[in-house]
């Protein structure tokens, strides 16, 4: 379970202070598929980065599975990201010098899993997203949708408790977007907690819960 308490993130831009996330508190139970929506600049991605321990909040707390994650050291946060969290970025963020298989293998190897097992798990994760026949391809040899699916496979390959997805369909056509969403729904059916940032109401409607931000503030929290 994720719990955030009075989370605030401010940015200093010259003389002005921008409050990107403004005193948000919420709880996300295990196994929930939640979407964070809002207009551009509403603070949804910033909130996701704080939840996913990619950035430090100005104030407030993030609790993940009973651990006060915001108080962890840099190294322990890295370990938590490795073992408990998975990320899917808007522009896929897969490593260009690694094949699809190797991209998925890296976090597994970092967990101390041996090469053979890591390879097997990575192949399985790629098969789950329909890329079983593309494991040896470099990112440059894959389409945008396929790259995003590699990114999903990497995020789920090490069986994290929570998957964070930042506008995962933003750069995809509608058909590929639907495929990606279907993959998320399937993962969620298997018990995966998913936190997805999206500005598309159609996709948000498919999730268990929709929260909406405006100017960094939580303005609605609706269960579907």
């Amino acid at each position: 379970m994720i719990e955030i308490k009075h989370l605030t993130k401010k940015f200093e831009t010259g003389d002005a202070t921008v409050i990107a996330v403004n005193d948000i508190s919420l709880k996300i139970p295990e196994g929930q598929f939640i979407s964070i929506t809002g207009r551009s600049g509403s603070g949804k991605s910033t909130l996701l980065y704080q939840l996913g321990l990619l950035d430090h909040p100005t104030s407030g707390e993030v609790w993940i599975d009973g651990i006060l994650a915001t108080e962890l050291s840099e190294n322990d946060q890295t370990r938590m990201r490795l073992h408990a969290l998975g990320y899917i970025f808007q522009d896929y963020a897969i490593l260009p010098s690694l094949t699809a298989l190797e991209n998925v293998m890296v976090p597994l190897l970092m967990q101390g899993i041996d090469d053979k097992t890591a390879r097997k798990k990575a192949e399985h994760a790629l098969s789950r997203v329909g890329l079983g026949d593309r494991i040896g391809y470099l990112p440059s040899q894959l389409s945008g949708g396929q790259q995003q699916r590699v990114s999903i496979a990497r995020a789920i390959g090490h069986d994290p408790k929570i998957v964070f997805a930042d506008e995962p369909t933003a750069n995809l056509d509608s058909e590929t977007s639907r495929t990606v969403l279907e993959a998320f729904l399937e993962l969620n059916k298997e018990g995966q907690t998913i936190v997805m940032v999206t500005h598309e109401a159609e996709y948000a409607a498919l999730t268990d819960r929709i929260i909406e931000l405006s100017d960094g503030k939580l303005i609605s929290d609706v269960l579907n």
């Binding site: 980065y49 990619l54 950035d55 651990i67 190294n75 890295t78 370990r79 938590m80 990201r81 490795l82 073992h83 408990a84 969290l85 998975g86 990320y87 970025f89 963020a93 897969i94 490593l95 260009p96 010098s97 690694l98 190797e102 293998m105 890296v106 976090p107 190897l109 970092m110 967990q111 101390g112 470099l138 990497r154």
Partner: protein, 425 residues
């Protein structure tokens, strides 16, 4: 979260992941860029080993020739306060039984004046055509066995055991070979082979035929007159058989220090000084060798800094351009140390390949080449001095510099904020 791994487990995982990333980066890197970096490392290695090796080799070549044509492997000479080796014949008997002996040559030495055209009447203020020189009285066969001196003859021929009427002289004594003439340091002018020359030692003079001229790059040899030992004894009126020096040549592979020790244990050191060729090096040559060694190390150090900066720039540019991907790696939980290790492995590999190629080039080509074709310097035949130990140390230094040069830029980039790196802010 699983239990925190032990230190060893953590390091081994970081190294494994670092190697995994480095291997792929290198495999898919631009081949031209990789070749260029390896080439720079090769040049650096050559700069480290060859430049200093040749500088030291200039002097080493001179020392080797001094040993080959003058001192032999071990030399017994008179004490500084004595003119001859005491009990020389007894000493020679001991030398004949020294382990590893190949040959020896006992020399009588002295100094005198050699004069050409001495029958001509000198005009007013005209200087005689003469030169002062050291003289060695030798057994020509034994001397040649030790020093192969006959191979140095550039004009005429070497002495025969019956050549009591002849001398062979070093090239420094002739204007034809030695243009440097200073007040008090003259040379013989226009003296063809077969000329009759007057040799004067002290009060005694005798006429000899110039049978040959020899030329080496050893001042000790090129400034000397060689004649039969019996003749020198006669000319100097020596009645004893005490010689001035005995050059000893050992069977290849024999340690001169062992032979020296055997001579000392047999009591030779009571009659004269016993020195290995290395110990008999003139002090100024030893100092030049040390100075050249230092100079070589200084040049090598500059080369090393240049190589370290090159690696630093390469890794820094690589890490900066991949800043986003470093951010992603950190974002998905890859330990910063594993990422740093991947960069260190990459830079180490460049250095290992460069140094490996350098080692092959030095030991399979350059060293044998310079041994066969030494660099022709006026005072020596320069060789390339590259020992296994010295090369191993220099390779180690290069690899160490590379590790540091790979670590620092990777560390700088790794320390940046993860999210800023991912978003390219």
């Amino acid at each position: 979260m699983p239990k925190r791994p032990g230190l060893l487990e953590k390091w081994s995982t970081d190294i494994m992941v670092g190697m995994f990333l480095a291997k792929r980066e290198l495999k898919r890197a631009n081949k031209w860029t990789t070749s260029l970096i390896v080439f720079v490392m090769l040049l650096t290695f050559l700069n480290l080993v060859v430049v200093s090796g040749i500088l030291v080799g200039l002097i080493q070549g001179s020392l080797d020739q001094n040993k080959k044509f003058s001192t032999g492997d071990v030399i017994v000479s008179s004490f500084l306060n004595r003119s001859k080796i005491d009990n020389s014949q007894e000493t020679i008997k001991i030398i004949e039984h020294v382990p590893g002996l190949r040959a020896y040559s006992a020399r009588y030495t002295g100094s005198g004046t050699l004069q050409a055209n001495y029958r001509d009447v000198l005009l007013k203020d005209e200087q005689p055509n003469s030169v002062g020189a050291l003289i060695a009285g030798i057994d020509p066969i034994k001397e040649d066995t030790v020093t192969n001196i006959s191979s140095l003859i550039v004009e005429g021929s070497y002495l025969e055991p019956t050549d009591s009427d002849s001398i062979v002289a070093g090239s420094f004594l002739f204007r034809k070979y030695n243009k440097n003439e200073f007040p008090g340091l003259t040379t013989l002018k226009d003296v063809p082979l077969g000329s009759r020359l007057l040799l004067t030692i002290g009060e005694n003079s005798k006429e000899y035929t110039l049978k040959g001229i020899l030329k080496s790059k050893v001042g000790e040899v090129d400034g000397k007159i060689f004649m039969l030992d019996s003749e020198l004894r006669k000319l100097t009126g020596r009645t004893d058989y005490n010689v001035n020096e005995i050059a000893i040549s050992l069977v290849p592979g024999t340690d001169p220090a062992v032979a020296k020790q055997a001579l000392i244990e047999a009591g030779v050191d009571k009659n004269g000084r016993v020195q290995t060729a290395a110990e008999a090096i003139p002090q100024f040559l030893d100092q030049i060798k040390t100075t050249f060694g230092l100079l070589g190390n200084a040049i090598s150090a500059i080369g090393l800094v240049v190589a370290a900066i090159t690696i630093f720039i390469v890794i820094f540019v690589n890490a900066i351009t991949r800043r986003r991907f470093i951010g992603i790696l950190k974002g998905i939980g890859i330990a910063p140390r594993a990422i740093i290790i991947s960069y260190i492995i990459q830079s180490l590999l460049y250095a290992i390949i460069g140094a490996g190629l350098g080692i092959l080039l030095v030991f399979l080509f350059l060293k044998p080449f310079f041994d066969l074709h030494p660099i022709d310097f006026p005072f020596s035949d320069g060789i390339l001095v590259a020992t296994i130990d010295g090369t191993a140390i220099r390779t180690g230094i290069l690899l160490l510099a590379t590790i540091v040069a790979g670590y620092i830029p990777a560390r700088i980039v790794i320390r940046q904020n993860t999210l800023s790196a991912i978003l390219g802010r």
